[in-house]
Amino acid sequence: MPANIPAANASAGDHLLCLYLTMARIRAFENAAEEASRGSVAAFGATTDAAALVRGPLHLSTGQEAVAAGVCANLARGDYLTSTHRGHGHTLAKGADTTAMMCELFGRSSGTNKGKGGSMHIADFAVGMLGANGVVAAGIPIAVGAAHSAKIRGSDAIVACFFGDGAINRGPFLEGLNWAKIFELPLLFVCEDNRYSATTATDAMTAGDGAAERARGIGLAARSVDGNDVLAVDAAARELTMRIRSGAGPQFLHALTYRVKGHVSVDAAAYRDRGEVETALESDPLKLARERLRALGVAAARIAQVDAQAQAEIEAALAAAGAAPPPEPVEAYTDVQDTGAGQWR
């Protein structure tokens, strides 16, 4: 499916509706994935159920959809993106196929990764989505390399690099920003700040005034934005990507949002105040967008239609994934390496 890039001449309502569809699709996708993952993994005291269709740790971006939608609306198909363990939203927003993604989560050979990656490694290189990553901050140097490569090859592709608020305390954050700046690479850093790193409130673990200030300390221009307001994210990303495309070098976007769910699907997040979550839900990005759409005069029925379209896509994806066959065991030995691959013990 094509990424939802609003047409340049779209009305304000159509523009937002286009972004809203991306968010609705992510929300529906993750709700379905969560449902299919019950009992998927042992952690946080949960026990596993071998029957779970979606296996392993499942990190949901519920409540953070506006960041993915707003940023990716400003990326062309040929642009690149690197992501985190919480990457469904980025992948969908970059235009990956919903069915192929659901097949991947179900561990099918028709999945984006042929069943080899699952949620934590979701990727669709065909749309420039170079991969989720199970290692915090590990996508940063890869994004730097992709941007350096574009520069060397004289390509006009730019790169968007998503990471969490917890990732700014790992070394590659410093190294990657420094590198991007000295080589003036076409790279948009996006800190998707959902205020938590697993069970830990990130604030207490972070010295200084946060991601944007830290980026400035390394010489990058940085902007902060309300990450639940998809139009604000979109506008900021538009400005920053335009700067990058005009050769201004790397830019930094700090998007403040909130992790509505637990760290992984089995995490009840008992370590935080329920009230905090309820307050956060009041600024749910889909809810905000719907209010804005109504204010822009978009009919409730058109919004409902978009919701239904997203839901239908996911139902179709679920059906296809449920019916698709798992990889043959022999596929475990492919794509390891050409020289000296696989089978040898």
Binding site: S40, V41, A42, A43, F44, G45, T47, T48, A52, R55, G56, P57, E104, G107, R108, S109, G111, N113, G115, K116, G117, G118, M120, H121, N133, G134, V135, V136, A137, G166, A167, N169, R170, G171, S197, A198, T199, T200, A204, M205, T206, H263, D267, Y271, P326, P327, E328, P329, E331, A332, Y333, V336, G340, A341, G342, Q343, W344, R345
Partner: protein
């Protein structure tokens, strides 16, 4: 004597040592809320935030800081969640923790325990499933431990904290819920293996989660008339050569099985040693040299199944240790 889980046994060991030794502190991501596997549950409540330290996501500095703590009078227990993330702290383990005492001529010591859980954790794919005990066995200065039971997780963790040199402590991610009887105050000795089942036809050396596969499979082999002696190595370095050599000399055959990739795995060390010292037939059974895939079929291809192990044992004994194909 109490029935408890592998995770609870670790909590108990740590709590007991912390009660009697004020130098012991625990640090790592999310330990304050009990650790995501419950392996630190209750410790923050008992010992406070100064001794059960939540850290930023800074693996290199978690490990490096632990070295600095250890050099200056503390005994840190470091949580890395999975060995895969400890790859972000390898310089600190290998170039700093392991070499410090030697490099500085014994001026300081680094009594730290680094908990680096290993193993396939269902559906977690390539970056959360590795077993890298062979790496650390190769590095002078490190002790390497891989407990298979709750009792050993209790006894060996307590021993590791008291060791005085850096210990790489490798719990298995799929054993956290495993329950068995733990005898408090009984610390296990580092470097001592355990004959988990006696037998006469074949010595099977293994460790960690594979011990359980080995024990159940050995029962089935017995029904086929093959008597297998199962040795739970428990400590990978220093490994209990005496016990293994004595057993292999008795049975006349050695099989090493482990979840880690077979190529350059620690099984090669055990097999090579037995071949050198005794000249008896040896074999290894480890994982294919492939990353762990996500889909169940792929993940299973990266596992050693009970059937694989049973076949290997019976064929080995029946054929008398001859060649096998290079499949």
């Amino acid at each position: 004597m109490a029935l408890m889980s592998y995770a609870q046994a670790a909590c108990l060991a740590l709590a007991e040592v912390m009660r009697t030794d004020g130098r012991v502190v625990a640090l790592g991501e999310d330990v304050g809320h009990g650790g995501i596997f419950g392996q630190y549950r209750g410790l923050r409540q008992e010992f406070g935030a100064a001794r059960v330290i939540d850290t930023p996501i800074s693996e290199a500095t978690i490990m490096g800081a632990a070295v600095g703590m250890a050099l200056t009078g503390l005994r840190p227990v470091v949580e890395m969640r999975v060995v895969d993330f400890a790859l972000c702290a390898i310089d600190e383990i290998v170039n700093q923790a392991a070499k410090n005492r030697y490099m500085f001529g014994g001026q300081g010591r680094v009594p730290l325990v680094a908990r680096l859980p290993i193993g396939i954790w269902s559906g977690s794919a390539a970056q959360h499933s590795q077993s890298l005990e062979a790496w650390f066995a190769h590095i002078p200065g490190l002790v390497v431990v891989a407990p298979a039971t709750a009792a050993d997780n209790y006894g060996l963790l307590a021993a590791a904290i008291r060791c005085g040199d850096p210990v790489i402590f490798m719990e298995h991610k799929e054993l956290w819920g495993l329950q068995d009887e733990v005898l408090p105050q009984r610390t296990a000795a580092l470097g001592k293996a355990r004959i988990a089942r006696a037998g006469s036809d074949l010595t099977l050396v293994t460790w960690s989660s594979m011990v359980h596969t080995a024990l159940s499979t050995a029962g089935q082999a017995m029904q086929q008339g093959v008597s297998v002696e199962v040795i739970d190595l428990r400590t990978i370095w220093p490994w209990d050569r005496e016990l293994v050599l004595a057993s292999a000399a008795r049975t006349g055959r050695l099989l090493v099985a482990h979840e880690a990739v077979q190529a350059a795995g620690f099984g090669a060390e055990v097999a090579a040693t037995v071949a050198e010292e005794l000249g008896v037939p040896v074999r290894r059974l480890g994982a294919a040299r492939i990353p762990v895939g996500y889909a169940r079929t792929l993940e299973n291809a990266a596992r050693i199944s009970p059937q694989d192990l049973l076949r290997e044992m019976t064929v080995f004994v029946n054929r008398g240790g001859g060649r096998r194909s290079m499949a």
